[in-house]
Amino acid sequence: MKQDGQIFLPLYIDRASYPKHLSIIANNMNQALRIAFIPFFPRLGTTPENFKKIEDTINICLNEKKPDIIFFPELSTSGYLLENLTFSSALSVPDDIPGSLVKLSHKVEIHLGLPLIENGRIFNAHIVILNGSIVHVHRKIYLPTYGLFDEGRYFTPGASLSSYEGKLGKSAILICEDAFHPALVYSLYESGVKHLFVPSCSPARGINHNEPFTASYMAWKKRLEVYSESFGIFCYYQNRGGSEDGVYFDGKSIFVSPNMTAVEKDTKKQNEDIFYYDVNLQDLSAAYQRGGPFHDENFDLNHRLFTLAGQKNRT
């Protein structure tokens, strides 16, 4: 399908593979993969400077800990509260991605957020660069336009959902509010995705309680734990760090596995400290095989029920 210059893919792109959802997680099980979660703090609307900082960060990571995947948050090349800076910060891929950065992708899988311009429309996008190519692009589908958010004013909503084969195996990206919508996570689960990356620019807010974290962070953690337990997927969350216009971003990193084990960045760490986590694929496989409600999923029944519920609601 083609509509308004954008390729629209059917939501369930990989239904044929879904009986394989109990299969192994990645091709090579005998390895641990190290993920660098980057609570990046870009300078608002200064793309060249941010690209330099991104490359410097990648080089520091490679020299220090040699990660396999480097995970930057939403809109890392531009900053978040862009308003009219959205237009001057928008980038084409692959043309506007510096060659030096692409070259680094031979050493590490790079996940990067950017305002993406395609056919005159700007998307809030996240790309994966691996082995010198852009192997995946996700365009944010649900653009929050309420409260302090105004994304719908500046960005075009994405209308497709897909996965890619990364170093961890079958993976996908949902950007921030996309992951508030369980239907998207369910669709990825049904298509056999095992690893869900959620880059975010989530403002820290909510102090009217006695819990150890902000209400906004606790909501994220709970949400990802439910997805992981229900759908048997591994969730990787990265919020940006720093502040813009008085709005603070907590720089939190979370890894959640289907047996409800959540690993977070040490709370004593500074907002901008990098969180490294070694994902042992055999541990992941064990956690997955231990089972959960995701093993019992009846996709065909679910689809019949969705259809029936939809028909009932329309009448």
């Binding site: 300078r43 608002l44 609307g45 009219n84 102090i207 309680h209 150890p212 502040s243 216009d245 603070y248």
Partner: protein, 287 residues
């Protein structure tokens, strides 16, 4: 007050989280401008004392200046409390008496003003801000705001006077949250427990002027604004608590009447790209 506390209870304040957010953002927002310092007008009251404590934590005491700016009618207790707060933060207190500046204006203004408490209060507040902004240029500092959320929503402050600032670390805290965080930080009871006052004349208190307590005001504001209750639901709650529901109107009306104080001045649109309509850029542009 126990009855209103049952129908409109105020939530706990997580001071630790609030401090984490405020201190880091305060530091970020000042440092990204290329500056490292802040200047604060210290009145002797709780709001400016809390701002001073936050600034000292965010920027280091050596990067914070506290300025006490008395008028001839300012209470001696205010100076004592300002000094107490500054000493606790390890910050030297500067004193700039504004009496001569103010009286010179009051005595020479062709239309007079000395007998009008509102105008006099506004002039004093704006003179203090002249001093602070001048000092901020002199020392390459940012003026830190001291108005809390309750005051800002009520419009209980002087436009371009005490409401002015470069960064306001307490502007999203209701008065009950200011109390909670101040206690958490160990700000002395002498400052925390005294009646809030603009100190414009002897015996003046905020609550006396507003004809409501901050406890009542905060409950109405919190339920109306933060929790999204409509007015009718608040009237019903007050009725259940045995209070006159219409007292809430004093809060609603003040918030509506003072909306202009929370916005930039109106610009009359004639072009295709009007500032703050189509010309929308973040304050942190390029920072």
């Amino acid at each position: 007050m126990s009855e209103i506390n049952n129908v409109l209870p105020l939530p706990p304040t997580n001071s630790k989280i609030a401090l984490n957010i405020i201190i880091r953002t305060f530091k970020n927002e000042i440092e990204k401008t290329g500056l490292t310092r802040a200047v604060i007008g210290l009145s002797g009251g709780i709001d400016s004392a809390l701002t001073l404590f936050l600034a000292a934590r965010a920027l280091g005491s050596q990067n914070v200046t506290a300025v006490f700016m008395p008028y001839k009618l300012t209470s001696p207790l205010s100076r004592e409390h300002a000094l107490l707060a500054a000493n606790m933060c390890g910050i030297k207190l500067l004193e700039e008496d504004i009496t001569k500046m103010a009286d010179s204006y009051f005595n020479t203004a062709s239309f007079g003003s000395d007998n009008d408490r509102l105008r006099k209060g506004n002039v004093l507040a704006r003179l203090r801000m002249i001093v602070l902004y001048d000092y901020s240029v002199f020392t390459k500092s940012i003026v830190a705001g001291t108005s809390n959320k309750s005051e800002i929503l009520l419009g209980y402050g002087t436009l371009w006077g005490d409401m002015a600032s470069g960064v306001n670390p307490v502007g999203d805290l209701y008065k009950f949250q200011v109390y909670a965080i101040s206690r958490h930080l160990g700000i002395p009871d002498d400052i925390v427990q005294k009646a809030p006052s603009a100190d414009l004349w002897e015996g003046q208190t905020d609550e006396g002027e507003l004809k409501m307590t901050y406890d009542f005001i905060d409950r109405i504001l919190y339920y109306w604004i933060d929790l999204g209750w409509n007015k009718e639901r608040i009237y019903t709650a007050l009725h259940e608590a045995g209070q006159d529901p219409q007292t809430a109107d004093m809060v609603f009306n003040r918030v509506m009447a003072s909306q202009y104080k929370r916005k930039m001045p109106l610009i009359i649109k004639v072009s295709e790209k009007t500032i703050d309509r189509e010309f929308r850029y973040p304050r942190d542009w390029g920072m």
